[in-house]
């Protein structure tokens, strides 16, 4: 899952005359991933070393001159290129101190931008759409520059891209409300013009982002209504009908971002990789209408992957270089590292072992959700029934019982088709009211809503925490069971609450009957004849312990003796926690997670709790290894792999603490022997694999035809 890390400030901002301007004209990559060139909107260019958060050098043009294009760095010649006052191209090197003394050349037409990719040649894009390589332009600076664009057409955005050693300049223009995309290929020069499909009248794209993959240029643009479109242009099909009529550019809707009230004003979307988009200036779906958020969305699954609130005003500017987002906000330019691991459905939803398909059907995709909500609203307005909106209003104020009754009535009505958005709205309404009003809580209604399996954590992120706060563990269990996307922090909070709960309290709970019956059978089961699963048998373990620990400390020898005593009468494992507590813990074990995010939260557990939890896991493991197939079909039960994964994680998180805790010694020794037996099994399997591979190799033999003349040698 993608993540945003803690950011840091690169520099302060000097906001321009108007508040809408951040004061930064552009940021370009410099020699490596740690250096950037920041051009402010007036006169200066500054080179920063990002990790040190400090400027290395700075160049300024004279008072009265202004920089009209962000400075770029030509890595081939190690020179900087900037344009001042639209027509003067300036080129200088790192060691040049004064910009005025550096090379200057005045060209005959206004320059829009100079682009330069690492390893590529700088390209100059003129305001009227002409494109020149910088070198060829400088050889005759006053050469006539043609006009490509129409009269009232103006460039809005541009970039360049290297695709299969072909350099492209891409720019978008606007003319009387229409948007166009130009694709200019250099060497040989071809130009292709595309017309962007019109969004709602009066809306033109707020931001563009382009990338190249699989022989296609992929353009991403964000409209003020929150729609993010993607258009894909093949690089191959270019050329031919140059300068002909603008082709319509097909687009596909990638995301429908929630916009809150009104339209977006200053927002930007940047492609991070093929599945992730960073968006700034768009409200967080669960944090009200404030637009000062930086979010990462997964476009494949339309899920929100990470979000971060940015203090201060957002200017709708966003740059990304080498896994860092550069975002000006308020009075600072912040650098926020991010991570977008390769996404699959499994990792987008977390690590799922059980019931994957079942759950994934019910996933509410948030992007869809907001779209659907709009649609539903529209629909309900057109076909009036006193229903949804009224009930929604009703829940805001009515007493508990009536709310319960109304919601029940609403849910039981079969005619509601778009149940999912409704349930989401209801749930968040109820949760927010409960949070606000300590007296108000509707456990059964919430349970009912969760039971519809139309909810997920991202729809109402506070539900689980609310349940924990109100010690409604049944609801917790339901949430853990039905939500596919519980964040690791919340899982850990549940674990902490469950493990610290006194057994007496736990036994009073009424829990989901299936999982209770599984635990009952597991605990009550007579000890079956010793079977082997995964090569582990408890008796051999005991012997291994004493073997393995010969020469250890005194304490260890004692343990070994204990084990010897035990091995004469192998002990029946005793469940260290009560039945209901075990059921709740199982639910945690069954939850999807990814280790990287879970591990830090696991560290919050206290050492007693860790020992208890480990004992419980050990109990499960022993039970599982004794019985050939304790997992009953149809019942929710953690798998052996899940148990082992949790053991490993808990040990990882608390290793030093456990080593220091005397009561954990025996436990650790036992766990060590589990691991040993598993390692032995795996190594045996590895041997088998090796020999099987050898067999494969042996079979390869040279094919001899009908006749050959060969040389052999006898000794």
């Amino acid at each position: 899952m993608a993540a945003l890390y803690e950011g840091y400030t690169l520099c302060g901002l000097v906001p321009g005359q108007t508040l809408t301007n951040s004061g930064i004209q552009g940021i370009e990559a410099e020699r490596d991933s740690d250096h950037v060139v920041v051009t402010d909107s007036t006169r200066s260019v500054t080179l920063y070393k990002v990790s040190d958060q400090k400027p290395l050098s700075s160049w300024t043009v004279k008072q009265g001159q202004t920089l009209t294009c962000p400075a770029v760095y030509n890595s081939q010649t190690e020179e900087y290129v900037v344009v001042s006052d639209n027509k003067v191209i300036r080129i200088w090197k790192d060691e040049d101190i004064l910009l005025d003394k550096a090379f200057k050349a005045t060209v005959s037409s206004d320059v829009w931008r100079v682009h330069c990719l690492p390893g590529g040649e700088p390209v100059v894009l003129f305001q009227r759409g002409a494109v020149r390589l910088l070198d060829s332009l400088l050889s005759a600076p006053q050469q006539p520059i043609e006009e490509v664009l129409a009269q009232e057409e103006a460039i809005r955005w541009s970039t360049n891209i290297v695709a299969d050693s072909q350099q492209f300049v891409i720019f978008t223009t606007e003319q009387k409300g229409d948007s166009f995309l130009y694709l200019h290929r250099l060497n040989p020069n071809t130009l292709q013009r595309y017309r962007l499909e019109r969004e709602e009248p009066g809306l033109s794209p707020l931001s563009f982002s382009a990338s190249y993959r699989d022989k296609h240029i992929c353009l991403l643009y964000l409209y003020p209504n929150g729609h993010v479109y993607q258009s894909v242009v093949s690089v191959r099909g270019l050329g031919g009908d140059e300068g002909a009529q603008a082709l319509p550019l097909p687009r596909s809707l990638l995301l429908g971002l929630p916009v809150g009230e009104g339209l977006l004003e200053a927002a930007s979307a940047q492609l991070l990789d093929e599945a992730h988009v960073a968006v700034v200036g768009v409200p967080h779906p669960s944090a009200g209408a404030g637009k000062d958020f930086l979010c990462i969305w997964n476009t494949n699954f339309q899920t929100l992957q990470a979000g971060k609130e940015m203090a201060g005003k957002i200017y709708g500017q966003l740059w990304t270089f080498s896994n860092k987002l550069f975002i000006p906000h308020g009075k600072t330019l912040s650098v926020i590292p991010y991570e977008c691991p390769k996404s699959s459905l499994a990792s987008a939803l977390g690590k799922l072992n059980n019931g994957f398909i079942n759950i994934s059907v019910n996933v509410i995709i948030y992007g869809f959700f907001s779209l659907l909500t709009q649609r539903t609203n529209r629909k309900t307005q057109s076909a009036p029934s006193l229903t949804v909106d009224q009930v929604l209003d009703f829940t805001k104020t009515a007493p508990v019982e009536e709310v319960q009754r109304e919601v029940e009535g609403l849910l039981s009505r079969a005619d509601i088709q778009d149940l999912q958005p409704l349930v989401g709205q209801l749930a968040s309404m109820l949760v927010s009211r409960s949070l606000a009003d300590p007296a108000f809580y509707t456990p059964s209604t919430l349970a009912q809503l969760v039971h519809t399996q139309s909810l997920c954590h991202s729809v109402c992120p506070d539900l689980v925490l609310l349940a924990l706060e109100r010690r409604d563990f049944f609801l917790c269990q339901l949430c853990l069971q039905f939500f596919p996307d519980i964040p690791e922090a919340v899982t850990c909070a549940c674990l902490k609450a469950f493990i610290s709960m006194p057994d007496t309290e736990a036994e009073k709970l009424s829990l989901e009957p299936d999982s209770v019956s599984f635990m009952e059978t597991l605990i009550a089961r007579e000890r079956a004849p010793v079977g082997l699963q995964n090569g582990f048998s408890s008796t051999s373990t005991d012997q291994d312990c004493s073997d393995a620990l010969g020469g250890g400390g005194r304490v260890v020898i004692k343990t070994g003796e204990e084990d010897k005593e035990k091995s004469s009468t192998p002990p029946e494992p005793i469940c260290p926690v009560g039945l209901h507590k075990a059921v709740l813990l199982n639910e945690v074990l069954l939850t999807a997670y990814s280790d990287t995010f879970l591990l830090p939260h696991l560290k919050d557990l206290s050492s007693q709790h860790v020992v208890l939890f480990l004992q419980y896991l050990q109990f499960l493991y022993l039970k599982y290894s004794q019985d050939a197939s304790p997992q009953m079909h149809g019942l929710r039960s953690p798998s052996l792999t899940q148990i082992m994964d949790w053991v490993c994680m808990v040990l990882d998180a608390h290793f030093t603490v456990l080593v220091m805790t005397p009561e954990a010694k025996g436990l650790l020794v036992n766990l060590h022997s589990f691991v040993k037996s598993q390692v032995r099994l795996v190594s045996e399997l590895g041997k088998i694999e090796g020999s099987l591979q050898e067999l494969n190799k042996m079979k390869v033999k040279k094919d001899v035809g009908q006749y050959s003349i060969e040389i052999i040698e006898l000794f």
Partner: protein, 683 residues
């Protein structure tokens, strides 16, 4: 030792034909085997399963069954004739028409006085076995439907006959049928098809055992005619049965290629009563097992996949000995390839035709292990179809390549070949004495043709451009009646050596036209002989893998041969299970003897020390890894090259390059028809 250029030839697409029937003679320990093309082969099980004799088949002769009566061998087939073989002259002695339509089965009584055949028309015909012939005696009561299998009760009073859908028991004296036992048809789709009782066996305790096309092995009580027990063995047919001499073990061959063993034992330890219990299953064949023989120690099986398999029963033989090793005999124990050394030509002998090929050429030089670019591809020069229906017994190509001779059971034919514009002319006037040629051989200067004839004699014929003249006949003094199976001449034209299946080796002096000497008889049959071109030593390799070198001048074993016998051959050498079928000599180094069996060829360097019992026999890989100076310390006389498999011939051409003719078993297998479909895992 050095490098050799090897012509690796795989275009001899020899295909043995399917095994149809076999009969084992436990007195002489000879196995007679007949193939689908009618060829008869005799294997000597007492002498390392050596294929002693071959009688070629004939077009249209489909032998269905074989039967030993004492030393005499009878066969019967779908052409409706009974044939007795002349095993001394390797030809059918006579044939008798049974007048009952196609014959499915043949059997004799224990006393060896009567022969009975089961015919298509439903009769069982009895023949009296006389000294020189057989004579029709009578018919048993005629039945409706063909008689597919027969078995005589050891007492001679009752005969069991397997038919369609039933088994009949006849009283041998009266000829009347006494019992009729109905055999159940298969289930499902095969319910509508008649079940064929492919094989019956009548045991001395009046138990009848039958194998049928519904896949059952059934045990019947022959006195009451009741079914005792049914064993469903396969989904397909049970094609043949064989019972051990002591009637304690029974084997059944199926279409799935399995052989199932039943034993007459008590099924539980404390139970007294014995019954037939299915004990073992052998799967040594890919196709139908058509013929079985239960020897005292082994299960012998053969079928569609053309291989003869001898599978020792591990409770009857000592474990981990050579005796307990399974043997598969896939290629004939005689050479079907003749190499004209001077001309670089190869003659391939097929049952019904001959092919002459010229080996390819390459002018390249390469490192050991390389394949050289072939400049001229090998070409087939001549394909000569045999005349008449008789199959070819023996063939020879003269060293110069200009003469080609072949023999069938009835005649010898000689051809003159010309290669500049390829032509073949039959030499029409052959001497009258040249009518039989078990073995043919040309002298090294191509002026004489030797043909072995009856009673181990050799006919010498002179060849020249104009005529073909009978010179004389060489006769051994021993008076052996056995045929010659090996014939060779010396390079200088002075000596001619013959070996016959009585293990005798005679050497004739061709200048004096008389017998020069007889090599002391060794107990095992010679499998290859050759006379050294310069020293005139005769090298003999026997079926038990022993090698002897006999000096023709001194008329005694050579020093080297004595040393070899004294020290003994390496145990691994003796354990090889295919005979050496060809011996030749290096022209470059007179100390080198080149010989081969099916899985290797070996160059014996007589100048090197013999391998001791502790030394590594197959040491080529070790020597390769050693530096050159150390090799000499580790090398021994036997240089064995195992690069080639399923070798049919190794010969040395005049340009010192080797010709290795391989016939990969896989290639042969791929020519077989598809086996019966079997459910395999995950199919």
């Amino acid at each position: 030792m050095g490098e050799f250029k090897v012509h690796r030839v795989r275009f001899f697409d020899y295909m043995p034909s399917a095994i149809r029937a076999m009969a084992f003679n436990s007195h002489t320990e000879r196995l007679a085997l007949v193939r689908a093309d009618g060829a008869l082969e005799i294997f000597n099980f007492a002498d390392h399963y050596f294929q002693e004799k071959v009688i070629p088949g004939q077009d249209g002769r489909a032998v269905e069954a074989l039967c030993w009566v004492g030393q005499r061998l009878f066969s019967a087939g779908l052409n409706g004739e009974i044939t007795e073989y002349d095993l001394e002259n390797l030809r059918p002695r006579y044939t008798v028409e049974a007048y009952g339509g196609p014959i499915w089965t043949i059997g004799s009584n224990k006393q060896g006085t009567l022969l009975m055949v089961g015919c298509e028309d439903g009769t069982v015909k009895m023949f009296e076995i006389l000294k020189e012939r057989i004579q029709f005696q009578r018919n048993l009561e005629r039945q409706k439907g063909r008689i597919v299998s027969l078995s005589w009760h050891p007492s001679g009073t009752l005969i069991a006959a397997g038919m369609m859908d039933m088994i009949r028991i006849f009283n041998a004296e009266t000829g009347h049928a006494t019992h009729r036992m109905l055999v159940e048809r298969g289930v499902g789709a095969s319910k509508s098809r008649e079940v064929v009782v492919w094989s019956v066996a009548f045991l001395s305790d009046y138990t009848i055992i039958s194998g049928d096309s519904a896949g059952k092995v059934q045990i019947w009580d022959g006195l009451t005619g009741t079914l005792v027990r049914t064993h469903l063995v396969t989904k397909w047919d049970v094609l043949c049965l064989s019972v051990s001499q002591d009637e304690s073990s029974l084997i059944a061959g199926t279409s799935e290629g399995t052989v199932v063993q039943f034993q007459f034992i008590s099924s539980t330890v404390d139970q007294q009563e014995e019954e037939w219990v299915r004990t073992r299953t052998f799967k040594n064949h890919s196709h139908d097992v058509r013929a079985l023989a239960h020897t005292e120690t082994a299960v012998v099986s053969g079928g569609m996949d053309t291989q003869l398999v001898v599978r020792p029963l591990l409770d009857k033989v000592e474990k981990n000995t050579q005796e307990s090793a399974m043997r598969k005999i896939a290629l004939p124990h005689r050479s079907l390839v003749c190499c004209a050394k001077k001309a670089g030509l190869l003659l391939f002998q097929f049952p019904d035709h001959l092919e002459v090929w010229r080996v390819g050429e390459s002018d390249g030089h390469g490192k050991p292990g390389d394949s050289l670019p072939v400049k001229r591809k090998p070409e087939k020069l001549i394909q000569l179809k045999g005349k008449g229906g008789d199959h070819i017994y023996s063939s020879a190509l003269s060293p110069c390549g200009e003469w080609l001779a072949y023999s069938t059971v009835s005649s010898v034919r000689l051809y003159r070949l010309q290669y500049n514009n390829i032509s073949i002319t039959k030499v029409s006037k052959l001497p009258k004495d040249l009518c039989l040629g078990h073995q043919l051989c040309f002298s090294s200067d191509s002026t004489k043709l030797f043909a072995s004839s009856r009673h181990s004699s050799v006919i010498v014929v002179a060849l020249n451009q104009l005529e073909c003249k009978y010179l004389h006949t060489l006769k051994p003094k021993s008076g052996s009646r056995q045929p010659v199976h090996l014939l060779c001449t010396s390079e200088d034209g002075k000596w001619l050596a013959t070996a016959n299946t009585d293990c005798e080796i005679h050497v004739y002096d061709l200048h004096k036209r008389k017998l020069h000497c007889t090599v002391p008889i060794y107990s095992s049959c010679p499998t290859a002989i050759a006379i050294h071109p310069t020293t005139s030593h005769l090298v003999v390799v026997h079926a038990d893998q022993q090698i002897f070198e006999y000096s023709l001048v001194q008329k005694e074993y050579t020093e080297w041969s004595r040393k070899l016998q004294k020290q003994g051959l390496h145990s691994l050498w003796l354990e090889r299970d295919t005979p050496v079928t060809h011996v030749t000599f290096s022209l470059k180094n007179p100390a080198h003897i080149i010989l081969h069996d099916m899985f290797m060829f070996c160059i014996i360097d007589q100048s090197l020390p013999l391998p001791e019992s502790k030394t590594l026999l197959y040491n080529q890989m070790t020597l390769r890894s050693l530096p050159e100076q150390e090799r000499i310390r580790h090398s021994h006389a036997f240089k064995i090259c195992k690069n080639f498999k399923h070798v049919m011939c190794v010969s040395l051409l005049e340009d010192h390059s080797l010709v290795v003719v391989e016939r990969p078993l896989l290639d042969m297998m791929s020519q077989l028809p598809a086996p019966v479909r079997q459910k395999k895992f995950a199919t």
